[in-house]
Amino acid sequence: MQIVVLLKAVPVVGNERLVDGWSVDRSSGLEANGNDEYVLEAALKLVEAHGGEVVTLTMGPASSVEAIRKALAMGAARAVQVVDDALAGSDALATGRVLAAALGRLEYDLAVAGADTSDGQGGVVGAAVATRLGLPYLSYAASIEPDPAAGVVRVRRISPTGYDVIEARMPAFIAGTQLLGEPRYPSLRGIMQARSKPIATWSLADLGIDPASVGSAASRTAVHEATPPPQRAGATIVRDAPDAAVERIVEFLASRRLI
């Protein structure tokens, strides 16, 4: 079973910042997006059970390589990185196009991605990639159960009251969540082996994409303004005994008309 994991390298949560042109600073300090690590873990478990290999696909600058290496250390067999200066500042639309073009050049039974990313929070790229490639799209997965013999995959999709069991033919595209399970730590052996695993780098020219159609200049959206939210005044500390403390809380909530 061949699985491609779409892996985005994002700024460490809490350290994000914008740089000129209002794009997210990706020059350094990137790590694998949280939800992407869950789907990577699920993919690794699937190839352990069914055979085959996991390939990661990343669109991102050179600084993404640390996150890619970690995925290789966790057990991915090899990686593809789409890297091109022209990609900086790409919006979700361009990102979906580029990833679809890259994925279209790979062989796979399943393509999997995290349901959203911590820096963009759009959660729309996966559906767009699947749609462009004509792949069945199974989202918000809490579990992934392929049946390679029958050529189908079943997913438990989170619903507002529980979950739906949904099914499609493979190859298929799955967007997954944290419920897929805790990602493993890379073993030291994995880390050492990762250093000799191949990372193929593809440019826009390799994918036949016009550089003018991507990047910040081609973005369909633009940030006009960014301001820090209003600061809180700082916490009032209450250290009273329970009864007195509760009285203080009630007064406080009443003063703000919250009760």
Binding site: Y140, A235, P242, I249
Partner: protein
């Protein structure tokens, strides 16, 4: 209809969801501000049933009745809306920030080649297009963004506006359209209900959330009690969801939901960055924690140092007593 603003709705139990009614209200407001027509669109097996209620918010409702209950609804909505968009050429589509809403937006983005402004906590009209306000980087920054062309998809969070009925309701127009794309088949084989009611912490105006400090699944009893008394929802940190004390639907933070209630009451939550990014834009934050040095003290409005097992039940009782 050319240049119109559309709200793309979702239906639950035969009625438009609260967020859908907010989107219709927002579409009307933006249409008024821009001098453009507004409409709501409902697609699915209950589109017609839900349409009159949605029409009360003003915009006309385009209802596409499709019986496709064995398919994920997002694909059904997207493929029909895409046809409607090509036929009637609206400029902006408002979608709800829900799992289905985001899936619809993703599919439409590929079908229409439109840009998307995601995760909007407020939408106004500026110049020639919508201006979307977004809280990014876990609430550390507020951005205002626009489209660079006269069309686009806006994903709107719950409570960006309050749902309001219009003086004159809109009309309901039932239309039949062919799906724009032949999306590959995904079939619903089974629907499993685990919760008796829908957990929608994103819509709640009050959230009482529990962390590791509640000690175990039983500890959530007093959290739930207080949430009940306050008319709020129960939230949780990832650690306690991972531990299986409460379901993922309650998780707030980096890989869970982001919320912005008027009151966020955090019990036994240290306030690690992964949790903070999902709730720090809440109106008022009250923290109850035994550790005065817990990071949450840095972004709470009221920090109560104490034992939540002593404080929560007393607080529930006090709020109840106050209400008489």
């Amino acid at each position: 209809m050319s240049g119109a603003i559309w709200a793309i709705g979702e239906v639950a139990g035969g009625a438009p969801t609260r967020l859908t009614r907010e989107l219709a209200t927002l579409a009307r407001a933006l249409g008024d501000a821009a001098g453009r027509p507004a409409a709501s669109v409902l697609v699915g097996p209950e589109a017609l049933a839900a349409a009159p209620a949605l029409a009360e918010h003003g915009p006309d409702v385009i209802a596409v009745q499709v019986d496709a209950s064995d398919r994920p609804i997002a694909a059904v909505i997207a493929e029909h809306v895409a046809t409607l968009v090509r036929e009637r050429e609206p400029a902006y589509l408002l979608l709800g920030f829900t799992d289905d809403g985001r899936d619809v937006a993703g599919i439409l983005q590929a079908l229409l080649e439109w840009g998307v402004l995601a995760n909007s906590s407020g939408v106004g009209w500026a110049g020639t297009g919508p201006l979307a306000e977004m809280s990014v980087f876990g609430g550390r920054l507020l951005t205002r963004s626009q489209f660079s062309e006269d069309r686009g998809l806006v994903i709107v969070r719950p409570s960006a506006v309050a749902a309001e009925t219009a003086p004159a309701p809109g009309r309901v127009e039932q239309v039949e359209v062919a799906p724009a794309a032949d999306l590959p088949a995904v079939r619903i084989v089974d629907r499993i209900t685990e919760a008796s009611e829908v957990v929608s912490i994103e819509e709640a105006t009050t959230i009482v959330a529990g962390g590791r400090g509640v000690g175990g699944p039983e500890g959530f009893g007093i959290v739930e009690e207080l949430a009940d008394v306050l008319g709020g929802a129960v939230g949780a940190t990832r650690a306690v969801v991972d531990a299986g004390w409460i379901g993922y639907a309650h998780q707030i933070g980096q890989t869970g939901k982001s919320v912005k209630p008027q009151l966020y009451l955090a019990a036994g939550i240290s306030g690690a960055i992964q949790h903070k990014v999902g709730m720090q834009t809440s109106g008022t934050i009250v923290a109850i924690n035994r550790d005065p040095d817990a990071p949450i003290a840095e972004f709470a409005d009221l920090m109560v140092v104490g034992d939540l097992f002593e404080i929560l039940p007393r607080l529930s009782a006090a709020v109840r007593a106050r209400r008489g």
